[in-house]
Amino acid sequence: MFRRRPEAVGPTVTVTVEGTELHVPQGVSAAAAMLLAGLASVRETPVTGAKRSPYCLMGICFDCLAEIDGQPNRQSCMVTVAPGMAIRRQRGKRSVGIE
């Protein structure tokens, strides 16, 4: 859905999206990384399981909620990528893990 401009310069960082390694420009959000990975959708809603992907990318819509480094329900558009970051989409409701 998105690509990097060929003229673009600047460093990249390596993250994983759904377990697959991906080089993304430094400074982009985890939501942008998922869009670059070409995921058809980034989450399924808790109410009807409808597929969603980021709508606003500015911290308003919460349609980019994802699991980042094991923590679910993160606003992925508000999280800047870091080397080694593990980004996963989420399906339906989250639950609290009691250990």
């Binding site: 998105f2 401009r5 993304v24 982009v28 606003c56 990318l57 308003i60 819509c61």
Partner: protein, 456 residues
């Protein structure tokens, strides 16, 4: 636990917040600027410190360097990557960042949380592949990222044309532009032209140049588009309107911007429904002082005025706070405000025309019954109407009836739609129907973070 105390806390590092914090620090106020992003700029100047000289984003964008540079050189404490999740009217701010939760006490607070894009509720707007024009702009600003397939821009407003031009310059020419401004808007705006032609000549020229640039790129442009809808099963496949259809991988919607009132509504500040801009805006005086003595508002969060005007209203608020805290006498405050107000009048001259020309069609505010209003809880316009007919008197009751506004976005997206739909159903003015009263935490925080907060 001893609270950190400051004179002045500014929330939001867009043009208003950067300008206010910079001036306040210069005037000798102990100032802290808090922002969710990792670098200053807000949305309009997002990524400004990393921008290249010949950025496809253009010169107006690069002008933001000056504000960010001045902030960095000022004595203001800048707190990036920090979220304000609660604020009380006495001046206590609850913050969360990578280092955990903390509390800050300020004598005066400036809410400079800017604007959001007006939600564009059309059939299919929840499909993956449907985004806002501003979202595409953020991709470009933060990582030089552009749409890779067929991107269709649809809606209206200055940003629609700006994003189109930026995508053309970036080598990702959109497949089509569908402008939704109704014919009557052009007529009504034309009648205002004599009044704004001279005072707003620079802005008019800029706007026309932008549209010309987009036209030269040879993009198919459809005007007065009605019945816009996103089509597809599990993701966007095509965009249709009353007289046409086009295959698309990405639909970028834009129906203008509205103030981000999440914090101002949560604080219980007095708000008015603005009939010219069709949005809620907090009531504030000419200095940005609100109905609460500790809280000021500056920038687009107090009413849409644009980036340049926002920096100016930020400075006015800083002057007023400096006077309030005895760092500036009232005569000096007024003297310094003179040229700022003159510049503000120049910046605002174009607004009369823009507000009329790009007034959203009625269906943007009050969509058809089968359209989803609340994206989080998947509540349709029809369900909100039913709640109103069953006796819900306002958005806060409709929330209890339908769960609309109860999801993670806390009504940020559906807020104006719910107020407008209820007003339409009940035949009452939107002002009387009122707005959601959002609650803290403004952004989700973990129980662990909350538990880590020391009790004072």
């Amino acid at each position: 636990m001893t609270l950190e105390r400051v004179d002045f806390a500014v929330i939001g590092a867009g043009p208003a917040g950067m300008a206010a914090a910079t001036l306040a620090a210069e005037l000798g106020l102990d100032t802290v600027l808090i922002d969710e992003q990792e670098a200053p700029g807000g949305l309009i100047y997002r990524g400004i410190e990393r921008a290249e000289d010949h950025s496809p984003l253009g010169d107006d964008y690069l002008a933001g360097r000056q504000l960010a540079g001045a902030l960095r050189a000022s004595g203001a404490t800048y707190r990036p990557a920090t979220t304000v999740w609660h604020l009380d009217p006495e001046g206590t701010l609850s913050l969360i960042s990578g280092s955990g939760t903390e509390t800050l006490r300020a004598r005066r607070i400036l809410v400079a949380t800017g604007a959001i894009e007006r939600p564009a509720p059309i059939p299919g707007w929840t499909l993956p592949g449907v985004m806002t024009a501003g979202a595409a702009q953020i991709m470009l600003k933060t990582g030089d990222l552009v749409p890779s397939g067929r991107a269709v821009l649809a809606g209206q407003g200055p940003l629609l044309w700006l994003v189109a031009a930026q995508l053309v310059r970036a080598g990702a020419t959109p497949a089509a532009i569908l402008e939704t401004a109704p014919h009557r808007n052009y007529h009504a705006a034309a009648r205002l032209l004599p009044r704004v032609l001279w005072p707003a000549r620079r802005a008019l020229w800029k706007g026309l140049s932008l549209i010309r640039e987009v036209r030269r790129a040879g993009i198919p442009i459809r005007r007065e588009v009605t019945g816009l809808r996103a089509l597809g099963r599990n993701r966007l496949e095509a965009v249709a309107w009353d007289s046409g259809e086009i295959a698309a991988d990405l639909l970028l919607l834009h129906e203008g911007v509205i103030p981000n009132t999440q914090i101002s509504l949560a604080l219980g500040l007095e708000h008015r429904w603005d009939d010219a801009q069709l949005c809620w805006r907090p009531v504030a005086d000419e200095w940005g002082a609100t109905s609460l003595p500790t809280i000021s508002i500056a920038g687009d969060g107090g009413g849409i005025a644009g980036a340049e005007a926002s920096a100016l209203t930020g400075r006015l608020a800083a002057l007023d706070v400096a006077d309030f805290l005895d760092k500036l006498d009232p005569a000096e405050r007024d003297r310094r405000a003179g040229p700022i107000r003159a510049a503000l009048r120049r910046e605002l001259a174009i607004r009369l025309l823009l507000d009329r020309l790009y007034r959203p069609a009625p269906a943007i505010l009050v969509p058809e019954d089968d359209i989803i209003a609340c994206r989080c809880e998947e509540v349709t316009v029809g369900q909100i109407r039913r709640a109103a007919r069953l006796g819900a008197q306002g958005p806060n009751q409709a929330k209890a009836f339908t769960r609309c506004g109860m999801g993670p976005c806390q009504g940020r997206i559906c807020g104006t739609i719910v107020s407008a739909v209820m007003a339409d159903t009940l035949g009452r003015p939107i002002q009387e129907i009122g707005a959601y009263r959002p609650r803290a935490p403004y952004k989700p925080i973990t129980l662990g973070a909350l538990a880590g907060l020391d009790a004072e």
